[in-house]
């Protein structure tokens, strides 16, 4: 049976080969596949140009596999399962734990040591069991986007800075316009609304979800207030209709088309929003804080992280490529193009050509500190999903109190930390 199966396999492979369908590998020179979602969000051809710089320098070719974020995630996950991951992969902070645990991505600490790379210049390294598996190449802040026309139509004079002011603004928008005030995408398929549009409020008022690297949701005073704040928005109809089925793209679409007053979104979308809706009159603002909170604000950051596949056959070259992307000049260029902040501390991007709105966001960012507690967390997306579900249950009145909602989420999260 086994012999037969083997023969059959060989046979099928041969058929496929003769059909000319199998890809053949060129042996002579090294080509690294680089799978990421960055190329889609950067200006056309920009990433290719940067990679060509590396080819000119080292002779190693870079083949870009650029697809949107969600698709890249499916691809990387499938690649992790099958050992077919592209040599160099763009990673989100929330994926690192799982792929490192599966031994699908390579230990960068070893590679950096072998290369004698100076890690002091890196703004951050994402680790698993004490070793680095991902390096953030550039970082994005998630400020508040404000549609000024809607505020004017509603008669809101100043951009709110506290929760009370924010709720007042929402009430006026509800009263005087047919637009929605705020939006949190809660689709089960892509639950990162919990990270970017929910937890942002908590972090901005100095709160946290974790304590000593473990979930600390129960008896979490600020978190309780944030949940209630959202419940108030939901009950008063300030949120876009049907948020439970929305994804981040739906939200951006609502904002682009002038049907949403406030949203929290990455500044990576600045350029695309400007191109899609040139007439939209919007600005950035710091997240409103809980009324009694006086301290500094944490600002949600996401990053374009990078890692190397365990199945990569040219790890040394791949590491060189990462070092190239992290080198001060290249890193500065990439940051400038992406409306992002550099992952290399010594990089000094020249933002003078960027949109002036970007400079506003930069200023907001500098007044606070960067935070994202989902980066490096185990099955991070699933953590978001369980909180997402509990939040909807609380919205719908199926859960009696915030305390019950947080206890239920805590139980789900603890399972992932066992």
């Amino acid at each position: 049976m086994k012999a037969f199966a083997k023969k059959a396999l060989v046979c099928a492979a041969a058929i496929a080969m003769t059909m000319g369908m199998a890809t053949s590998a060129k042996a002579e020179d090294v080509t690294l596949e680089f799978q990421q979602w960055w190329g889609v969000e950067l200006p056309d051809g920009a990433l290719q140009e940067i990679c060509d710089g590396f080819t000119a320098e080292s002779g190693v070719k870079i083949e870009l596999l650029s697809n949107p974020y969600a698709d890249t995630k499916t691809q990387v996950a499938a690649g992790a399962a099958t050992g077919t991951m592209a040599d160099v992969v763009g990673l989100d902070g929330s994926w690192v734990y799982d792929f490192a645990k599966q031994e699908a991505i390579a230990n960068l600490s070893e590679l950096m040591t072998a290369d004698g790379y100076d890690t002091a210049q890196l703004s951050d390294q994402i680790q698993y069991q004490g070793n680095t598996y991902m390096i953030p190449v550039v970082n994005f802040a998630y400020p508040l986007y404000v549609n000024m026309d809607i505020l004017e139509e509603a008669g809101v004079e100043a951009i709110p800075t506290t929760w009370t002011e924010f709720l007042d603004a929402c009430a006026k928008i509800k009263e005087n316009t047919d637009k929605a005030a705020y939006c949190i995408p809660l689709s089960t398929e892509a639950p990162n609304g919990i990270q970017n549009q929910f937890s942002t409020w908590l972090w901005a008022s100095g709160g946290t979800l974790m304590k000593d690297g473990k979930p600390a949701l129960t008896d979490n005073e600020m978190l309780t207030k944030v949940v209630d704040f959202f419940k108030t928005m939901k009950d008063n109809g300030y949120l876009t209709d049907g948020v439970e089925a929305m994804k981040e793209q739906d939200m951006v679409n609502e904002f682009e088309n002038g049907r949403l007053a406030f949203m929290v979104d990455g500044i990576s979308h600045l350029t695309t929003i400007k191109t899609e809706s040139p007439d939209l009159h919007f600005t950035y603002a710091p997240m409103p804080k809980e009324d009694s909170y006086e301290g500094q604000s944490g600002m949600d950051v996401a990053n374009w992280g990078i890692g190397i596949a365990e199945n990569c056959e040219h790890k040394a070259e791949a590491m060189k490529f990462i070092e190239y992307l992290m080198s001060p000049e290249v890193n500065a260029k990439l940051s400038q193009l992406a409306n992002a902040f550099p992952g290399n501390n010594t990089a000094a991007p020249d933002y003078s050509a960027n949109d002036e709105l970007f400079l506003t966001a930069f200023e907001i960012f500098q007044n606070g500190y960067a935070i994202n507690e989902f980066t490096g967390a185990p099955t991070a997306e699933d953590l978001m999903r369980s909180m997402n579900e509990q939040l909807i249950l609380y919205f719908d009145g199926d859960t009696a109190s915030v305390a019950d909602m947080l206890t239920a989420t805590q139980t789900a999260w603890e399972a992932a930390y066992e």
Partner: protein, 277 residues
């Protein structure tokens, strides 16, 4: 009295006809209409079928993007190969079932019929590693071979049905004239089964053209991907470009629509033959 009853029946039929047409056609009309709008107009109130910004911009964007054109080319190539291979392999198998008695016939036949019940998602995880070890990951071969598993059973069953309706004398006549079974099958039997084969071929084409799960997970680079994945990639952009997604949907559905309109007679005839067998 009878005339009045007939009138009522006629009115009832017309009412159902129209309601049915709205139910079946409205989403399609809306899809087409939105492919000509600007993004902001798609959710405007009150909704309009045709707006002053009516344009082919969304279509132009797709045709100007070589990556998206490539999705169409890939879909045509893959579906085309799947149809040819399915018919070729399926006809051979059907001939065996129709003309021979052999050991294991009933078991093999049972398995083939039952395969129609196997959900593709249950095989997804093993396929991931199997396709990799066959060195077929990210090739057309991966898609063609996995699609064949799900297209062959229907083809074999239908073609066996057609062949069973043809007298065995036909093949024997050819063989008496010195021809082989092979010639009998391809020169005599198959030409007279053309309407049925068109029906089977069309159904196979639809299955291959529409497949999403394997196309998504068994390929990696965009030059290997198909239309359903391409449509979904558009959904993954930073914000929905509804008009482009609609345009891509219209273009992606066109081949099937054209096939159906051209061959609907054969198609229904083919199904009748299969149903009556």
């Amino acid at each position: 009295m009878i005339g009045q009853k007939k009138l009522w029946v006629k009115i009832l039929i017309v009412v159902i006809l129209i309601l049915g047409a709205i139910w079946a056609g409205f989403p399609v009309v809306w899809m087409i209409s939105n492919s000509f709008k600007t993004n902001a107009e798609i959710f405007e109130l009150p909704p309009r079928l045709i707006t002053e910004n009516f344009s082919f911009t969304a279509y132009a964007k797709i045709f100007q993007n070589p990556e998206q054109v490539r999705f169409f080319i890939n879909s045509y190539i893959i579906s085309g190969i799947v149809v040819i291979l399915t018919l070729f392999i399926g006809i051979m198998a059907a001939y065996a079932f129709s003309r021979f008695e052999f050991k294991g016939k009933s078991v093999i036949n049972t398995v083939i019929v039952a395969v129609q019940a196997v959900p593709p998602i249950t095989l997804l995880i093993p396929y991931l590693s199997l396709i990799v070890s066959l060195k077929l990951f990210n090739t057309f071969g991966a898609l063609v071979l996995t699609y064949l598993v799900f297209t062959l059973p229907y083809c074999i069953l239908m073609v066996t049905g057609y062949l069973n309706t043809m007298p065995k004398d036909l093949d024997e006549a050819v063989m008496i004239d010195g021809g082989s079974r092979w010639t009998a099958l391809w020169k005599i039997l198959i030409p007279s089964a053309i309407p049925g084969l068109i029906s089977v071929g069309m159904y196979t084409f639809m299955q291959a053209w529409n497949e999403y799960l394997f196309a998504l997970t068994l390929t990696k680079t965009n030059d290997m991907r198909t239309v359903p994945v391409g449509i979904n990639l558009l959904m993954g952009q930073h914000a929905y470009e509804w008009n482009q997604m609609m345009a891509m949907s219209v273009l992606g559905s066109l081949p099937i629509l054209v096939l159906f309109l051209f061959f609907q007679k054969y198609f229904i005839a083919g199904m009748t033959a299969g149903a009556v067998k």
